[in-house]
Amino acid sequence: MSLLVPQAGDIPLPQPGPLSEPYWQGCREGVLRFQRCLDCSAATHTPALLCAACASRSLEWVESSGQGEIYSWTRVWRPVTPAFLTPYVPIIVAMDEGWFILSNLVGCEGDAVAIGKRVEVVFHPSGGTDDIFLPYFQLVS
């Protein structure tokens, strides 16, 4: 077995847009952000103009604790492109503030993944520049 690590190859990287730039700026600063509704307090991700619960346009960016639990997972052995080293473990994390994020699990053996395990965000610079820091997740020890 080998430790799951962030991808280091020439993977497709996000191109932040006007709506998502605050999210990626947070990642550069080591902070995971999501949007909270000023009217109903619901959490929204991915970055949106409208609250997912009440369609209000009054959303503010707030900091996440970065903690949650694994909601679902898969372990990929056939890479989407040759740039991805296998195996890698896509996960959906149910964040403590009530929103879901898709990411990869790192820092443990691949067979350590399980639904319900506690995880926390870690950021890794990607693409050889300081422009993009991708949020990954590791098990909380």
């Binding site: 369609a55 679902s72 898969t74 372990r75 990929v76 056939r78 989407v80 492109t81 890698y88």
Partner: protein, 388 residues
Amino acid sequence: MGHPFRDVAIVGVHNTKQARVLEGHDSQSIALEAGLGAVADAGLEPRDIDGVVGGIASNFLFQSRIGPAWRSMSPLGIPAVIEGAMAIACGLANNVLIATGEAGSYRQHASTAPWTRPTNEFVAAYGMFTAAEFALMARRHMHMYGTTPESMAHVAATIRNNGHVNPDAVYFGRGPFTAADVLESRMVADPFHLLDCAMTSEGGTALVLTRADRTEDTAKTPVFLLGGGTDHFGPSYQHPPVWDLGGVRRPDLVAGLVGRRAAEEAFAAAGLGPSDVDVCEFYDPFSFELIRQFEAFGFCAEGEGGDYVMSGVIEPGGRHPITTDGGTMSFSHGGASVQLFQRVIRGVQQLRGECISSQVHGAEVAMCTGGGSGALFTDVLLLGKDRP
């Protein structure tokens, strides 16, 4: 008010040759072949067509000089069929051709097929493709209900064996398969083994709809649209595929049950229920999807889909035989849209009684589907032999 599709009939269907590679073809040429085949199957001439659906069908419209004509750009399977039917029901066209095809767009297989790979900024960097998207849904179901890889493998083996005996299938003669064969194939995206997944291939497909009062002029037994519906949550492969993703209007209809509303609407329009369905031409991108669809459509209770598919209903001769030509696992998966029409094509062939393999004898009602939970949409079409 009468049935919305009382005055619409499917009178022509055609699949071109399907293959891993169709030498000498591109997407335009194979779609044109498909369109001509469907028009001929209907006993019509190209000049009879006064409406087309699908961007690629525009080429048919131009080459056969049948313009000016009605056109829709709807590309993806059952919604396009429903739109063509609506055009006829609304009096916008008399004979509508729906045609698509794909060839030459994916022949270097180092990466997964282009239509499987999202480009969105919140998923692409994490190595997502369709198998991983659907696996995240399947894993959640396994966690909630104890659904097993063995039940998924049984679905895959059943569908692949339908293709094994179908001379028109890309993987004709490649079986027979057992569930053990599926479980022993290499892992792609846990819990999906290679043989739990759709293939990639090339091909064209087309169908012709006409006004029901004109079917005396057509060649084959008309097939009718008893009901249909489309359930969508948004763009595919851009947001986390969360089983419990819900909407504000019907919070009970979570993404894991996508297709339930469409099926409810289709059954209501038809005045039928799951027990009336003789052929389940369910879309099969991954084996788990069929277990999920049986639950979403009300054939069995939530969580019981795994046991249901193991109970003898889905095989040839069972009460609800599935995906009888081999589906995307063995018949063909021709690209971004081709295979999304082919459950309807097969449903029509079953009701006509013209299948050269796995014909369901006396089939009166076929349920055809497209999409799946990992893509956050599922479309449903109920076909029948009797005019509604």
